[in-house]
């Protein structure tokens, strides 16, 4: 039976896994789990995935969640090693990014959740320390440019020769910044990276729904760099 992908197009880790399945031309059955409608909290889904996490996959009876684990599992079971190096040093470098991502890059989504989506979609009041959180976010973005993109010298994370699962994880978080009309001129290296990754059709494909939503929201006029993608 082909893999089943439980995903939500507005979820960044969902888009990373979806992107790999498209890039690797893996046969899969897509099942949208709409988190906004609480479809991840049904009895049926909770039985399958007790954390109610999205994305998840099932491979016949085997169920797995956590996007980075899913990405690696797909690579190993479908021989997609071009997306995740087998050489132990190169693999360790990609793993180091993927681990750091959880407490580093993921601050983008945590910021958006607290200050943009929470207030708009869930009427949740934003915390009071916005300036401090923004400062921390800037720190992490500079870090990505300096360390993982080699001050702009690397085309892909950790100077890998081709796109890896680390890039799939990063790019989908980075475009979260579109929803706050972020001025990418502050980070020209990230700007170049976004342009480069979006030259890949599968990355554009998996972000269509998210960009569609942004186009509808029109909270303010988006800057030119972001507008070209919506």
């Amino acid at each position: 039976m082909p893999l089943v992908l439980y995903y939500f197009p507005l979820s960044q880790p969902s888009r990373a896994v979806w992107g790999l399945l498209l890039l690797g031309k893996v046969e899969f059955t897509p099942k949208v789990i709409d988190i906004m409608k609480g479809e991840n909290t049904t009895e049926e889904y909770t039985k399958l995935i007790p954390t109610q996490a999205v994305p998840a996959i099932t491979d016949d009876d085997f169920a797995i969640f956590e996007s980075h684990t899913i990405l690696k599992y797909i690579v190993r079971t479908h021989n997609l090693h071009q997306f995740y190096p087998q050489d132990s040093k190169q693999q360790a470098l990609v793993d180091a990014y993927l681990d750091w991502h959880h407490t580093g890059t993921r601050n983008i989504t945590l910021f958006l959740r607290d200050f943009i989506w929470g207030p708009i979609f869930f009427k949740r009041p934003a915390p009071e320390n916005k300036d401090q959180r923004l400062k921390e976010l800037e720190y992490y973005l500079s870090f990505i440019e300096k360390i993982f993109l080699g001050e702009g010298k690397f085309q892909f994370i950790q100077n890998q020769p081709t796109l890896s699962i680390a890039d799939l994880s990063l790019i989908n978080e980075l475009v979260g910044l579109f929803s706050m009309n972020y001025d990418f001129n502050q980070h020209p290296i990230l700007k170049k990276y976004v342009e480069h990754l979006f030259s890949i059709p599968e990355i554009r494909e998996t972000n269509k729904d998210y960009f569609g939503l942004l186009g509808h929201m029109k909270q303010e006029e988006y800057n030119d760099f972001i507008k070209q993608y919506l």
């Binding site: 797995i64 690696k72 040093k89 360790a92 793993d95 407490t103």
Partner: protein, 223 residues
């Protein structure tokens, strides 16, 4: 021979040390003290601009950070066959699933510990909601107990794996702040079982000193 830079008070440092000692590897341990800023020296910053520990430097100069990546790198590059991280795809995926979950969830133990014990000492106001953190920590511990551990001896199968070592090292930190494990009896038993491993005991000697001072009635002082 590789070098492992650690801080005994850093939970991920202890996880790496314990794993490598269980595997009887020969390496140089360089203990540093984050509390004295030794992670921010020019030498360490050159090795890891993130200024975080642990750091591994292999004999050819290859440097790697992030504890889970470090442990996996050694197991992969030395071709070590071990029950700590078995090669079966599905079992490995389940262990990876826990190790990914760890960063955003179990690691909240560190945030809670930091807010209770460290931030006040340094006069830092973190802005974190301590009551909320305590709730989250309890939720995460329940989850590990009821979803991963259930009635087994270890998180995955019959043997200790790097998931047990990483999780237990992290959760042990809570003993320095008198955390009440009464809501998590199975988890407590599992921790005691994992702490029976000599290499875990060795890695936790410094933490035990802190526990003796901060929490003298702690059950772990008797193991």
């Amino acid at each position: 021979m590789f070098k492992l830079y650690i801080d005994w008070i850093s939970q991920p440092s202890r996880a790496c040390k314990t794993a490598f000692d269980i595997l009887h590897l020969k390496y140089e341990t360089i203990p540093l003290w984050i509390q004295y800023g030794q992670h921010k020296t020019e030498e360490i910053t050159k090795l890891n601009p993130l200024q975080q520990l642990p750091i591994l430097v292999d004999s050819d100069g290859f440097t790697i950070v992030e504890s889970h990546a470090i442990i996996k790198y050694i197991i992969n590059s030395r071709n070590i066959q071990t029950t700590l991280y078995p090669s079966d795809h599905q079992l490995r995926a389940k262990i990876d699933q826990y190790l990914d979950y760890h960063h955003g969830n179990t690691r909240k133990c560190f945030t809670y510990y930091y807010n209770i014990l460290i931030a006040p000492k340094l006069g830092i106001k973190t802005g974190d909601d301590i009551l909320k953190l305590e709730q989250v920590v309890n939720q995460n511990l329940s989850y590990i107990q009821n979803y991963y551990l259930k009635d087994k001896d270890y998180l995955f199968g019959n043997n200790v794996t790097i998931a047990d070592i990483s999780a237990c090292s992290e959760i042990m930190q809570l003993n320095t702040i008198k955390f009440d494990f009464d809501k998590h009896p199975k988890l407590l038993n599992w921790m005691l079982r994992v702490m029976e491993i000599q290499e875990m005991k060795d890695s936790h000697q410094v933490i035990m000193k802190i526990i003796r001072k901060q929490n003298p009635n702690c059950i772990f002082l008797n193991i």
